[in-house]
């Protein structure tokens, strides 16, 4: 815009909230230097401290009223609660008693507590450090009597870290944010995702003085400062296309999945430990296609606790509200060890004693889980699925254990229902002899199937070209399983990453799959990909 245009600067970062944004560049200073002022008496400093805490609480309460969504309100409520907790504020008053100014006392006390969160092992608690910094700075600003600089709507904000309450005060309107620090689990990243504000973290440092405009491109993981004309034009057209695609996908979120040729597709979601369900509306899916119980039961005590498992399964069934829920029995081993249960020191754990193989070695543990599942099945449409089945005999043994678990419940007069018993199809030996398995349903686990079929480990980055889900060997095998299942009217679904990958949707529909289980975040995109695809008639199939 200006006559004297600054040179283009391109900085890399890590995207944590996807999107394209362009606007006026606002660089927030790390921290303002403390203004020099005379320290008052202990009583004066103490009452300044009191007043600053009270006014910061009042500001936060007012902000809570203004922001609509529950998620944002909860973040602010946490800060209000912390400010009201004497355990939090007491050390600052103690420091003031000992002779320091309110600013210093507050900063020292808060920094200590922030460090404790910052050093936590758990990512959730580590991310709370930024909430506490937010609270610390708000009180410091009040003490100094400075107002937060106003940020114009639609700006591209660059900062070290951005406090959640500050984030909520800004009118984003198409703007974005890039932080030199930041964490993908921070509240501000979560808010950015839920409000669709593009965001990068871990941005490369640079002196951005003199620049007035910037754009954020999370597809390319960059912040471009002072973009030139060609870049800007290209960006604008991408922005427009992305806007259309997003609006398009959103339209599909709560609608049933239907192909362009009119076939209904059952769209299920994959669930890890159930914690993600709180944020999801069951109306977006036709049910749950996979619950990974090994992420829910983390130690030997959980494995033995039938009641605890029953409660956890009931909770998921309740959420699903009469939609089908497929719960997979423990798939421990491989990359998911459980101490005191899985076998240690195997040379090749992915080809070792894992999944159902391990469960059959511990029939007591499996029986506990099957009892809990059969009890929860009385509360809704719950199905049981066993992982890593290789030979028909294994599935038969699992069924015997399920039958005897059910018989036990019946004898004890405990409420139960007999759940369907299905299997994961992820071992090539099972896929190739699928007609020999007496399962109530099949679910294709494409991740392991590809890794075992191509003899290449998932974690081996250099081998990723071999993991192409669309290679003929993979599609032919999936086709065979689906053909058998459809011919014998055994329900079949696919629950690997392939189902969440929109590039794979046409191929999966063309081989005859009409049920997919995807990551919750992919539901809208997958439904929109399904809606765009006209299913090929059998003669059009490249595989036939």
């Amino acid at each position: 815009m200006e006559g004297d245009t600054a040179a283009v600067v391109c900085l890399r970062g890590t995207p944590v909230s996807a999107g394209l944004a362009r606007g006026r560049l606002v660089v927030l200073a790390d921290d303002d230097p403390p203004p020099s002022r005379e320290r008052g008496s202990v009583a004066e400093e103490s009452s300044r401290m009191q007043a600053a805490i009270a006014s910061a609480s009042a500001e936060l309460a007012a902000l809570t009223e203004r922001v609509g969504e529950a998620e944002a309100q909860a973040i602010l409520a946490f800060q209000v609660a912390m400010l009201a907790d004497r355990v939090v504020t007491e050390p600052a008053f103690a420091a003031i008693e000992a002779g320091v100014a309110a600013e210093q006392g507050w900063r020292t006390a808060m920094d200590l507590q922030i460090r404790e969160y910052h050093e936590a092992d758990d990512l959730y608690f580590r991310a709370r450090a930024s909430d506490l910094r937010d609270m610390r700075d708000r009180v410091l600003h009040t003490l100094r009597g400075v107002d937060a600089t106003a940020i114009a709507p639609g700006s591209i904000v660059v900062a070290a870290d951005l406090p959640p309450s500050r984030f909520l005060e800004i009118a984003w309107d198409g703007g974005g944010v890039a932080l030199t620090q930041g964490s993908p689990n921070s509240h501000v990243a979560m808010l950015a995702r839920s409000r669709g504000v593009p965001m990068l973290i871990g941005l490369e440092q640079a002196d951005l003085r003199g620049h007035t405009e910037a754009l954020i491109d999370t597809d390319n993981a960059i912040l471009v400062v002072s973009p030139d004309g060609k870049l800007a034009v290209d960006f604008a057209s991408r922005q427009q296309r992305a806007g259309i695609a997003r609006a398009e996908a959103e339209r599909y979120l709560n609608a049933p999945a239907v192909t362009a040729s009119g076939e209904r597709v059952q769209l299920l979601i994959n669930v890890a430990d159930g914690s993600e369900l709180d944020r999801l509306d069951p109306a977006c899916c036709d049910g749950i296609g996979l619950v990974r119980t090994e992420l829910m039961l983390r130690n030997a005590a959980d494995l033995a606790d039938e009641e605890k498992q029953y409660q956890a399964y009931c909770r998921i069934v309740r959420w699903a509200d009469r939609r089908p829920v497929t719960i997979r029995t423990l798939d421990a081993g491989g990359d998911k060890p459980i101490s005191g249960y899985t076998v240690d020191g195997e040379a090749n754990p992915f080809l070792g004693v894992r999944g159902l193989r391990l469960s059959l070695r511990h029939p007591d543990v499996l029986t506990t889980q099957l009892r809990a599942l059969a009890r929860a099945a009385s509360r809704g449409l719950l199905k049981v699925m066993v992982p890593m089945v290789t030979s028909p005999r294994e599935l038969d043994r699992a069924r015997v254990l399920l039958d005897s678990a059910v018989a036990g419940l019946c004898k004890e007069r405990v409420e139960y229902a007999v759940p369907e018993l299905g299997m994961m199809v992820e071992v090539p030996a099972a896929a190739l002899a699928i007609d020999l398995f007496d399962a109530d349903f099949f679910s294709i686990g494409s991740n392991d199937l590809i890794q075992y079929l191509t003899a290449s480990s998932r974690d081996s980055r250099g081998l990723s070209p071999l993991h192409d889900p669309l290679q003929p060997a993979v599609l032919r095998l999936i086709h065979e399983v689906v053909r058998h299942a459809n011919a014998h009217r055994v329900p079949v679904s696919l629950c690997g990453d392939m189902a969440s990958d929109v590039r794979c949707i046409p191929a999966l529909l063309d081989v005859g799959l009409r049920s997919l289980s995807v990551a919750p975040a992919s539901v809208a995109r997958v439904k929109s990909a399904i809606a765009r695809h006209r299913v090929a008639t059998p003669t059009e199939l490249p595989l036939a």
Binding site: A74, A81, R86, V87, Q113, D122, M296
Partner: protein, 106 residues
């Protein structure tokens, strides 16, 4: 202003326990509800992750958050005071209901 571990020899007046089925564990939102409820009682109220402590002041959000209670952990409550029984049963109910909003102002 003494909070934290229960003093040795202190006899609990009322106890309860509940399994935390809140997804993700005792995060900010449920921790706020829990401390707000605890503060409504005149009794002193403590919380612990094991039957014999260490005991934490259930009225302090900072201390309750610091327990980093994971999903499916068992929470133990102890209260001492005139309304101790009400406090421990109300807290167990709150956790069992998965921190449902139940019209009592929470």
């Amino acid at each position: 202003m003494t909070s934290g571990p229960l003093k040795a020899g202190l006899v609990p007046r009322s106890r309860s326990r509940a399994v935390l089925t809140h997804a993700g564990g005792l995060h900010a939102r449920p921790a706020i509800k829990l401390t707000q409820l605890a503060k409504r009682f005149q009794s002193e109220v403590w919380i612990a992750l094991a039957e014999h402590g260490p005991w934490i002041d259930a009225k302090s959000i900072a201390r309750v958050m610091a327990t980093k209670t994971p999903y499916m952990a068992t929470l133990h409550f102890v209260a001492e005071g005139n309304d101790a029984a009400e406090a421990t049963s109300a807290l167990a109910r709150l956790v069992e209901s998965d921190f449902a909003d139940d019209g009592n102002g929470g």
